[in-house]
Symmetry: C2
Subunit: 474 residues, 2 copies
């Protein structure tokens, strides 16, 4: 794929506008003036999201022999988050401007003003930095801040318990812990043997105050996570194998590999639970940022849950009889970030020979919300009838659209903006010789194909084989 | 399908036990002793749930011409719930036993003790009833209650806003309102014309204190909802059409129609927004209870959101130029209740000719978590190799399982408990004449079929046609 012009690369604006205009993504609660960093996925957004999730499930769960799925609750026992370390450690340092009441992450304030890292600073040190350097409020310019204070990123709520008390509960900030909580149930009820993985797709919530770069950072989002349970001995090989598998996934959904980079977390910046973490970053218009993560979590989580619950979370190897708490490799994927990367990758404004500009989404067929659109050349009876018939046949197999209104060129442009790989036009020749025009989104070339060959030709072009060949690889 | 024995019909116990034992449903946060009414869907439960949701989407969204999907946030602007009436009216009357601290719904307490309805009673009246009749605590027997008080069923949380204030936000108690909030975005960006519908699948949360009958009543659950926007004139016809469509859905997933009833809500019990509501109830082991709901909501919701937001939510008919706020027919489906009804419907303990009992789930192939299982008769090389090859071919098309361990009879029983419609056994004859044994779950009959006919025979037996014929009906 050719590189886009710098002006498009540098800004999310045209993508945000297209998403709104064409029913991919709307601002959340827009009629009430919006609400925090929330978004609604419109008719095409929800199809795109579903394609991502379905393909992920097929590739990583059904496509492997040693994987099972899970769907755990958002509201988990509060002890979960004490054990995981989130109650104590999942914090940002916040600071408020006394003048304008603006609220900021203190580390970002220091980094932006003083161009130095606030990593590892205590709250007191941060407050001192802000005061000593008379850092100004980015909103109103005043230098009058509160002290920095800890702010936990977990949303909390209150349960009404039959016991009479009202208990605090947290909205899970990651899906991972729901998997660890059911590790014992899975080994007790499924015939799994280490190494094996448990996969989950579901919502997680973080009380972020940082502006989000569209859907890149949002307060509620969907994660696709795998906890892959291994013997400690095999962690290095397993880590490499998963890294390869994650790159394959990027290929499968059609991301431009030139924009994907591996970013190794330096030892001193690793989370408390991790011995190695690699991010896959994507070159977003706002910079190269984390798309996916791969972490070796050791057996930190299972050990902590064993400790906090008093349950044994040991696994016994059926051959060697060795008992151990499995270690964990965790590949994690954000649905919204995947969707945003796909949009950025696919978006283009092409200047055509006639000087017009066409906006097009070059989605891979694997994830395109609509696979094929069917048009009668004009809204006339024999054409409409034939087009309807072809549409219904194709729609049984792929998600198709039917469109009979407006000039044919406009209908092509409309499908270009939705990223539909192929358009089929039924014209008067169709009634004569039962052939139709098949138009390719990317080359805009049109070929004439017999109606009775359409399914075969589309099957090949929609590249179903690409995906099928990836299955049952291990 | 024949009726089950009364002992099975009257109890959820064997179903709950099977769900745990075979990886369908685990109690939520079980290693910490459980947590409120929450559940985890295990490896087979998550596949069953996914099949339900995917089929629903295909049937109601892709299968109709005038439907679009949406995926709105769980956290909506708080004004949403003021406009919808939930802040004021989505309440239970609770009462606590002072002796044992037990907490109860006051209307249930009165209904159970005095056998009369508490509908329409004020808090004062309820408190008086409890005191005058010296109603006893169902837990400890004491007659010493607090006064009845209002308890809102919405979970609330707190947002950290950049404005400096901390604002309350609610976890949505229904998905419907997210659809109403995006009504304007959808009519502005999609080429829809009334009548049309917006569909959404997503989580909702209710702070219930009532015991739940397994996953029937839970604090977090998934809804599949449609808001179908119409002109007021057409509400009666549209209501009937949707009722028919909901019955078709029940057929499609294989529910026994003899257990489905229509329950018309009497006028005086209708919600404030509804002019007609019909429940589809299912004969659960604990009684006939609401499975699905169909409500004519008038234009209450859109009118209220127009009023509270100051936005115009009028639609202009392109032909007549009439401006109006559309009325709404709302078919609503719970994922967990669907799953529970399917389990209750499918569960059976059959006494075989040899006196043994087999437990079996008679799932319709449309929703069965595993469609086909493949076994080599013995764990011997040529059999295993051939079985692996057949498994991989079938698994590319349907979710299949491979099992090579244990006696063949045990492997059949295992698949019976998972509801797998067909099992294929590769034996020594297979190596001779390339035929395999195809075993039917329900009849337990085995037939010999050529390997190269397997896909064709299974395609027919798995009844793909049944579903395909239902599509694009309107």
């Amino acid at each position: 794929m050719k590189e886009k012009s710098p002006s498009i690369q540098d800004s999310l604006k045209p993508i945000v506008a297209l998403c709104k205009r064409r029913g991919f993504i709307y601002p959340g609660s827009e009629i009430y003036g919006g609400f925090a960093n929330t978004y609604s996925f419109g008719p095409y957004g929800v199809e795109l999201k579903k394609n991502i999730k379905d393909l992920w499930w097929k590739f990583f769960v059904h496509g492997r022999r040693n994987m099972v799925g899970l769907d755990g609750p958002i509201l988990l026992h509060p002890k979960t988050w004490a054990a995981s370390g989130h109650v104590e450690g999942f914090n940002d340092a916040l600071i408020d401007c006394k003048a304008c009441k603006g609220r900021f992450r203190c580390d970002h304030l220091i980094e932006d003003a003083l161009h130095k890292s606030a990593d590892g600073m205590s709250l007191e040190q941060m407050t001192k930095e802000v005061q000593q350097h008379k850092i100004r409020c980015p909103k109103c310019g005043a230098s009058d801040f509160t002290e920095a204070r800890v702010f936990n990123l977990m949303f909390h709520t209150h349960m009404s318990k039959t016991g009479g008390n009202t208990d605090i509960a947290y909205l899970r900030p990651e899906t991972a812990q729901a998997i660890f909580l059911d590790f014992k149930n899975v080994i007790d009820t499924m015939r799994v043997r280490v190494p094996f993985g448990i996969a989950q797709i579901g919502k997680a919530f973080r009380n972020e105050i940082t502006p989000g770069n569209f859907v890149f950072r949002v307060i509620e989002f969907e994660q696709m996570e795998i906890e892959y349970f291994i013997h400690e001995n095999e962690w290095k090989a397993s880590f490499e194998e998963w890294l390869t598998s994650m790159h394959k996934w990027c290929q499968l959904i059609g991301l431009n590999s030139a924009r994907i980079r591996e970013k190794e977390h330096p030892k001193e910046q690793l989370s408390h639970y991790s011995k190695r973490t690699v991010d896959l970053t994507y070159d977003f218009p706002f910079g190269s940022s984390e798309l996916y993560g791969l972490a070796y979590r050791t057996n930190f989580d299972l050990s902590r849950h064993a400790e906090f619950s008093g349950q044994s979370l040991e696994y016994t190897d059926p051959d060697t009889k060795e008992k151990f708490i499995p270690h964990v490799i965790e590949p994690t994927f954000g649905v919204e970030r995947t969707l945003l990367a796909l949009l950025c990758d696919a978006y283009d404004e092409e200047v055509l020979e006639n000087g017009e500009t066409r906006t097009v989404l070059h989605f891979a067929p694997t994830i395109a919300p609509v696979k094929v659109a069917v048009f009668p050349l004009m809204k006339k009876e024999p054409l409409v009838e034939k087009a309807e018939k072809i549409f219904k046949t194709l729609h049984h197999i792929w998600h198709a659209e039917y469109d009979e209104s407006g000039a044919i060129g406009k209908r092509y442009r409309r499908q270009d903006e939705l990223g539909t790989p192929f358009c089929i036009t039924i014209d008067f020749d169709t009634l004569e010789n039962d052939t139709v025009t098949l138009r390719d989104r990317d080359s805009m070339q049109q070929i004439r194909v017999p109606t009775n060959k359409l399914i075969e030709i589309l099957s090949e072009k929609l590249n179903v084989g690409f995906y099928e060949n990836q299955r049952i690889t291990s």
